[in-house]
Structures are given as structure tokens and as C-alpha cells.
Symmetry: C2
């Protein structure tokens, strides 16, 4: 079965499920007014005007009735009738009447299953028996024709699958999404918090900060390897600068402003102008290019409070930013290298499903046709050389240059845009940047903006959910917890602890007086990847027992061999 | 000779030097009106009203004349005369007349040397021949009686010493202060810059950022060793919070404000409230105390543009902040540990002259007599146990608790306040902080605020000047530069380079086509601590020659042995 057909089939199934829900509602709450019930990307919904609002507990009732209708296995029949006839059937439903009037021509479709008739343009399974693997998920608010000025409605949403296995997998994933929501994990694992004193501004607790620091150190190790040079530039700069850069015009509603010495300053929403000022601080020769400036820059961007979402959508975050100043003919090489860099990083974080998009010249754009062609050509050639597959999104580049985006799929099958590589012809013009070429002429450089993780805070959230809280050893804030079976091993535990700490292994001792089973459970709840269990036997043999988070145990391990393993995990350089 | 007598003697010498200057002025510019000419901490000055303003070139003329008077070796005589007589002598000098009127009683002192008479209460050397080691330093503006509403005057400043050696040392130090001004070094070594787009906000260039990162990594290694936990908290928070913390009332003129969602936010001038909110995020048990939270927190504080001074006085800087939440009876232990920590750090940066000050309860203060006594007692006991000498500054503590300050002397004999340890009874009250003690009761913790470096940016400047730009190997942004004698060693240089980089040694190759002497000079100008010089001999023997910044050379060094040395320098942990 080809994907499009399959996709069409599932939409038909889900639209049929909406009718199934409507039939159940009519049986149990006959005065409810039905409006529309389409299939969506992931399921279906029906928007209705109930006499009394539906509540969560009604979903069970409705589901029971739906199962009955499935068992009754009514054939689903579709036919065309005149509008006049249709208006008679739906005479007491103002919404359906409005829909009928809006349909062109004199005929409309209706669908019948058992006693239930609905207005419908068609596309159904053959009988209600086929809609066995269905579930209702939520009740939410909506508006007639999605317009806030119209009648408020209730939306009952659900989904359906062809097989019980698919439905079970979906339900498991839904549970996981709740269970492994980074906001929940963040609280349970004491990683970060938010406060009313700073809406959208995260507070990183010690373990969360440890994770951020590890991410930063890892990225720094690659900056070193790829000959980047790190800089840091001010958190706020004069408004004039943001006008010059164009950010003020495009972005001012998302920016925060301060007044200093009667001058308007803006808190930076991006790090680019800072890097540009560093570049402009002295003249540059072609010999220095490509000049790769990196900054872990804290930026502030206003988001409406309604769309803030844990660390995934905040008002202050840190970008792992890079600005590469280079000549036209270095673009391809830099882009190729950056693709490689992004791939290395994403692999390290165990993202294996990566989609690459190339976005080309939009209608409104600056720069010459020639520049754009050369730039897109460089990107295409770099992508070709990288051997990666990619999709082209015509006209979706930024106004100042084409870009490459990396979209990753996480363990719960969601897609996230992370890294970007962006060519910029506009910045060098706006700030009149130069370098001196080998003939002594002043030449305009190109700027390549690139971010690998993007926002460290957002990537933190994505990674936390991707690993369902069980971070790999190298990224775990506590890597090893030492558990003693009885108090007799206390001193031995301390020795082991001191030894691990000496090698910068993030270890701790469980000093509680709990039973060993309780200690193991506690470590598992905290998702600590490795436990060292110490009993009399281990003490006698001067060895350790390793218990992994997944329950696998390794006995008779030599401490130094274990240290070597972890030191290797913790080593980013080389 | 005891220090006080010596101090008195030098003051007498310098006051005599002021008379010497005045005599020279009277000889060359007889219409100049003299006002006062006291000794100061470091020298002397004479404030005068000239007919035409003195300029820099006049200092040489005056100095020549002073030398003459020294050679003439006039005895200096002091006697008392009646005010009436004095007024006759100084009849045409309104300032001296005013001074005479202000002296109580009927007599005033005058001092005579050769043809010159000055009003003076006494204290001189015996003859002008004793003032041989004198120098004039500057001309600046001043006001009669230091009041801007009075007559504007010119101040000619100088200094004098008992010996030529002391004078030479002083002059060398003056030269050094100019030569090794961190702003000059920062530009020459391409470490940082400032821009009109952000007055008082530093931009760190790659090499400067490398130094900051090394400082941070070093401090982090100690945080790890001393069981601190790092956090990060928002750059801006609601104004209400700053009102609650008391910062708003005491500090609002130094703070920057933004409006977000129609609420007033303040950019943080301190990190304390952030750490307190992290503490408050969940309940705490006595078992967790002392809880040591560290933050490398970027703060913004408004300073008048006139007092901004390179990195020594900026408007945005990073504190190596620590907030320790502990019980009353843990104060002594924490303070002792923190003194140790500060001493370790200052020693690492080669500051050996450290003065410790204990500041006690000021008149206006919060907390009970009992709390203060206990707190001061803890500080005293910790200081006693540390074995360090310290001075007590009665009444100079903060209103919220007593404090210990560390003052360091740099290589140019200037004193800087760096580390502080501050007890705080007020924060825990204002934010109603608790922990649960071993009996299950809610108890108020104490907060100990501590900073080791203080402002990273300011410490950066102090260190840069202290080392006169020649940073120790571990702190140098470029640790090793590889120089080839001819192009024949290019490949060998690359091998050595790759090997060094593998061990995270900050190395680079001089790829210029300069002579070896030119390459050495360039490296010296950039104050790179170590050069590896490679010629045919080194290549043959598979060895390297090390040339230190001070010119000392080591031949026949094995690369691995050298790597081991530097790796040891770069290793902070253990």
C-alpha cells in the first residue's frame, strides 16, 4: 500500500469515527446540536453545541455507546439529496442549515448509518464495524467557524486506527508524552523551575545547571576542534544599533528596552550585532578568513504569556551561536564543515532521524540574483558533498540569504527544528564590513550564522523528553550513586567515592539507613544511570558491583577499570 | 627607624619640596599667587593662581630652577611672627591673607630659605640641599579651599624621596602604571574592547574570552572540590522582588528597568534574590545544610559615565557569587573554609600580600544584639583558627550582618579589595526562609554571601596589570607558539602542533615568512610565555627547543616531557 493511499484511508476511517461519535451523542444527548466533524492530522473531532456542557466523565459514556454501534455494524451509506430535502432533515440545527446554504449547487451529500443521518460530502468506511479501534481523548472549547465572535462550541476529540496494536502504541505514546513531559521530569528530578517573579525566565537548579554545563563543555570541545574562537558581547546595546541591523524594524515587539543616560537600549534578542562589532574592532586580512566567532549568548525575546511552555518556549535563553566571516568562495567549505559538525552533535545526543531542508530565495529579498545563485549553488554543492539527502523549500529562505535547517525526530516521534546554517549578505552591507584581499583591495565578507543546538534551554527540554529523563552517562548530573548493603561498608564506600571524585566522576553516596532495595529504588526514581553496590563480598575482594539503571548487574568489577570507562565517557576532547 | 617616624620624616621632606617648588616659581613667575602646599600620601602639591596658566613644558623649567636651589643649599629657617608683620609680607596675596586671618591667636609661622619666605606652620628639613631627589609630575585644576564656587587654581604636583634609588623606583613604577594599564594591554594583546553602542559594557575578544573561561574553569574546579552546587537564575526579575529584598530602596539609582506585560522588571544588580528563590523552591532539611549555591551571575549596575574605567569600573560584570544557606552553628566552619578558599585562589593568581579586615555592627543595623555577637564571634573564631592576621573595623559591617574583606596588593604596590564574606540575617527574614531541624521544627537559616574574585571582569584587569600582561602559563590565552627556523621544518612544526592540541594545550604556529629573530620578537610582543623553536638539529634529534618569554632557553627537550609539564599546569582538578 502506498503511503498516500494509506494516509487517505486513515483519514476516511477517522472521519467515519467522527460520525460514530455523533451517532452516540444523538442517542444519549439528543438535544445536542452537531456542527462539523472532520478528520485531522492525528485523529478527528466533532464541534457541538450541547444543552449542558460535556465533562470528562461523559467521554466514557459516549465511548460505551460508540462500542455498541460498532458491534451493531451498520452499513454506512452515502447519497446526494436536494438542498430542500436536506433542510427538512436538519430544520432544527442552524449550523447545518448554514452549511447547506454555503454548499454550491442544488444538491448536498448525506450519510446514513442505522437511525443516524448526517450532512456529509462523503468518504467513509463501509460499516460501523470497521471503526473498532477508536478512542476519545479530550474536550476543549472552540468557536463556530473558528471565529471568536461566533457561538462558543465544545470540541470532542479522538482518534482511530486500523488495528488494536496501532491504537495501543498511540495510547502508550500519549501516556509517555504526559509521563515524560520535561516540565514534569524537571520537577521530579529537581532540574529547573519557574517563578512568578520572572514569567518565562527559567531558574536552573544544581542538577539542571550541571546538564547545561556539560552540554556547553561538549560544544566547546568541538569549537576547539573546529578552530572557532569564543567571544562574549553585551546583553544590551543601543537602539540605533538594532535599527542599523534591521532587528528593530522586524522584531521590536519581541524586544525589551531600558533607558541608560537618557538613551534607549535594547536587551539583545540575537547575538549577531555583538559579533559584528567585534569583527569591526580592527581591520582584517584575507589570511584570517574564515574567522569563526562563537558565543554562548543569553538572549531575551518576548513571547505572549499564553504560548510559554516550560523550557520549550521561554523568554530568555542561551544560543550556541556562531558567526563565520568568510569570502564568497569559502562558503561551500564552511557549510560542508558545519553540516558535519551538526551531524556529530546530533548523533552524540542520539538523534538518528534527521531531515535537512534547504530554503531558497523568497520574493522579498536583498542581494543580487548573482549572489543568490552563487550562494544557493554553494549550499547545494555542500549538501551534495555531504552525501545527505535533503528537501528544497523554494522561496522559504530569509530575506537576507538562503538557509539550511536541521529537523530531528525524537524517541516519541515528534519533529523539532534545531540547527540552522544561514547565509547573510545583508549584515556585511548594513555594517559596511571589509577584509583586505591578497591584492590589497577592500572586499565585503559574507557572514554565515549557524547554531547547532539552537537554544540550549529548548534543546535541554527536547533531550530530556527524548531520553524520557534517563540521560546517557556522559550527560547525567549524577553519574554514579554508591549504595552500601549495611553500615559495615561505610568506609569502603567513602574510599570508592573519593577515588571517583578524584577523576571528576559525578558520584555521590546514599547515606540513608534504608534497606538496599530502597536505595536501589531511590536511585532508579532519580534515573541515575549507574549504581555501585557494596556488600561484604565486594569489600573482601576489593571489587565493586555495578548495577545499571536498566537492572543489568556486573559483578566483580575492578574499580579502576570502571573509572576508566567513565573517564572515557566524560572526555570530549581528542 | 620605626615606621611612624619614617612616615613623618618623608612628609617633612615632601612638604619642604613644596616650598622648594614655590621658591622656583617665585623666581621664574614672580606674579604667581601661592596658596597652600602640603605633603600628601604619595608626594606634595602647591595650588597657585598663575597670571598665565602653567603648561606641561613649564615643569622642566621649574625643575631646573629647583635643582639650582638645591645646589645653593640654603638653610631653612622657621620662626613665629605677629599676624600684623605677616600681613605686611603677604600684602598682595589675598589667599595668604585669608589663611593668616583663619589661624587662631596673634602669631603665625613663616619659613625662610634664601630670598624666599612662605607662610608655614613648620616641619622642614634643615636645608634645601636635602631635597635633592625630587620630581614634578603633573599640572591639574583645583579650587581655592576645594570649593567649586571659589577661585579656580592650578595644582602642580610632585614627589620627593630620601634617595635616588627610591625616586628611580617610583618613576619606574609610574612608567609601569602607564605601560601596563590594562586598557593599553587589552588593546595591544587584542583581549577586549568597548564601543559607543554600549557605554561601560565590555566586548571580550577571543583571547580575552579564553582568559575569562580559564578563570571560570579554575573557580569551578574549586566549587567541585568544596562541594558547591552551581545554579543559574534570570537576568531580570520583577520589581516587587527587589523591593522585598531591599535592593530597590537602597539601590534603584544604580538599576536598569524594563517593562514586560505592563509589569516593571529590574535587570539584576546582584544575584542574591535568584539564589533565594531557588532555595525557596522546595522545603529543606537540616541534613542538606550547609547548602552552597554558586552562580557565575552577570549583573548590571549603573555607574556615572565619568567614573567608568576600562574593566576596573564597568556597567555589566560577572560575579563568582556564592550563597551558603546554613545554621547558626555552621557559620564558623563555613567562614574558615571560605577564608581557606580565598587564600588558595589569591595564591594561584600570585597575590602574596593579603590584608584581611573584619567589619562589625554599624549603628543602623537589623538583627538582635545576640545574633550580632554570635556572628561576630564566629567570624573572630574562624579568623583565629585560620591563623591569619586581620584588622577590625568597628561599625563598618553591612546593615544586615558583619563581613570579612580581603585586600590584595599587586606587583605595582596598589591595593585592591577583592573577596568578601558577608553574613546576612536580613535576607532569610525578608524572604521567610526555613529549614526543618532534627526535631522537626522550622528554623531560620543564615545566608553567607561570598565572592572570591568579586567581578570577573575587574579581577581580569587587576591580574593583567599585576602580571604586566605576562600572564602565567596556565592563564595565557596562547600558551605556546611554534617557530620554525626555515620552511624545512614546516611539517615537523605541524606534527608538534597536532600533538600539543591533542592535549588541549593552547598552541599555534607562526606561519609567517619572517626570520627567526622576527618571529621571536613577535611572540615576545604578544607576551606568549613559551616558544618552541624548531630547526634542523631539533628535527634530526626529534626534540624541541623551548624558549621562555624571559629569554631562557632549554635545548634538547623531549616533546612528551614538555606536554606533561603543560598538562600539569592546565590541570585544576586533583
Amino acid at each position: 500500500m502506498n503511503n498516500d493511499i494509506k494516509n487517505n484511508d486513515i483519514k476516511i476511517l477517522r472521519h467515519s469515527a467522527a460520525h460514530l461519535l455523533a451517532q452516540a451523542m444523538m442517542r444519549l444527548f439528543a438535544d445536542t446540536l452537531l456542527t462539523i466533524g472532520p478528520a485531522t492530522e492525528d485523529g478527528f473531532f466533532y464541534d457541538v453545541l450541547p444543552v449542558n456542557n460535556f465533562k470528562e466523565e461523559h467521554l466514557e459514556l459516549l465511548t460505551k455507546e460508540m462500542k455498541k454501534i460498532v458491534a451493531q455494524n451498520y452499513p454506512i451509506e452515502h447519497r446526494e439529496i436536494s438542498k430542500e430535502e436536506a433542510k427538512k432533515i436538519f430544520f432544527n440545527n442552524q449550523f447545518k442549515l448554514e452549511l447547506i446554504d454555503a454548499i454550491p449547487g442544488n444538491f448536498v451529500g448525506i450519510s446514513t448509518q442505522g437511525e443516524f443521518i448526517d450532512l456529509c460530502k462523503g468518504g467513509h468506511v463501509k460499516s460501523t464495524g470497521e471503526i473498532a479501534h477508536v478512542v476519545l481523548l479530550s474536550i476543549s472549547g472552540s468557536y463556530w467557524r473558528a471565529d471568536r465572535n461566533n457561538q462558543a462550541l465544545q470540541r470532542i476529540s479522538g482518534t482511530a486506527f486500523f488495528t488494536q496494536e496501532e491504537l495501543d502504541a498511540f495510547l502508550k505514546r500519549q501516556e509517555d508524552l504526559v509521563e515524560y513531559d520535561h516540565r514534569k521530569l524537571g520537577k521530579e528530578l529537581d532540574l529547573f523551575s519557574f517563578a512568578q517573579e520572572g514569567i518565562g525566565f527559567p531558574f536552573f537548579h544544581p542538577k539542571g545547571q550541571q546538564i547545561l554545563n556539560t552540554m556547553t563543555t561538549y560544544i566547546r570541545s568541538l569549537l576547539y576542534k573546529y578552530n572557532y574562537e569564543e567571544i562574549s558581547t553585551p546583553v544590551m546595546l543601543r537602539q540605533e544599533l538594532w535599527q542599523q541591523s534591521g532587528h528593530y524594524d522586524h522584531y521590536k515587539d519581541f524586544m525589551y528596552f531600558c533607558v541608560i543616560d537618557e538613551k534607549q537600549y535594547a536587551v539583545r534578542p540575537m547575538n549577531c550585532p555583538g559579533a559584528i562589532l567585534v569583527y569591526k574592532n580592527r581591520p582584517h586580512s584575507y589570511r584570517e578568513l574564515p574567522l569563526k566567532l562563537a558565543e554562548f549568548g543569553k538572549v531575551h525575546r518576548h513571547e505572549l504569556s499564553g504560548v510559554l511552555h516550560g523550557l520549550l518556549r521561554v523568554r530568555a535563553f542561551t544560543q550556541d551561536d556562531g558567526h563565520i566571516f568568510c569570502s564568497q568562495d569559502q562558503i561551500e567549505q564552511i557549510v560542508l564543515e558545519t553540516i558535519e559538525l551538526v551531524m556529530i552533535v546530533l548523533k552524540k545526543f542520539e538523534f538518528n532521524d534527521i531531515a535537512i531542508r534547504l530554503s531558497t530565495r523568497p520574493e522579498k529579498s536583498m542581494g543580487t540574483e548573482e549572489q543568490w545563485n552563487a550562494a544557493v549553488q554553494s549550499l547545494l554543492q555542500a549538501l551534495a558533498k555531504s552525501g545527505k539527502t535533503f528537501a528544497i523549500f523554494e522561496g522559504e529562505g530569509a530575506f537576507y540569504g538562503p538557509k539550511i535547517e536541521f529537523h530531528i525526530k525524537d524517541s516519541m516521534n515528534r519533529s523539532w527544528q534545531c540547527g540552522t546554517i544561514q547565509l547573510d549578505f545583508s549584515g556585511p552591507e548594513n555594517f559596511d564590513l571589509h577584509y583586505i584581499d591578497h591584492t590589497g583591495n577592500r572586499v565585503r565578507p559574507v557572514i554565515i550564522h549557524r547554531a547547532i543546538l539552537g537554544s540550549l534551554e529548548r534543546f535541554f527540554a527536547i533531550v530530556l523528553e527524548h531520553f524520557k529523563g534517563s540521560l546517557p552517562v556522559w550527560l547525567s548530573p549524577v553519574q554514579v550513586r554508591i549504595l552500601t548493603i549495611t553500615d559495615k561498608q561505610k568506609e569502603y564506600a567513602q574510599e570508592v567515592f573519593v577515588h571517583l571524585r578524584k577523576y571528576e566522576i559525578r558520584a555521590e553516596i546514599d547515606r540513608s539507613s534504608d534497606q538496599i532495595s530502597g536505595k536501589i529504588k531511590a536511585a532508579q526514581l532519580e534515573k541515575i544511570p549507574l549504581m555501585i553496590v557494596l556488600g561484604d563480598k565486594e569489600m573482601e575482594k576489593n571489587s565493586i558491583t555495578i548495577r545499571q539503571r536498566n537492572g543489568v548487574q556486573r559483578f566483580n568489577v575492578e574499580l579502576n577499570a570502571f573509572v576508566e570507562e567513565i573517564v572515557k565517557e566524560n572526555k570530549f576532547f581528542n
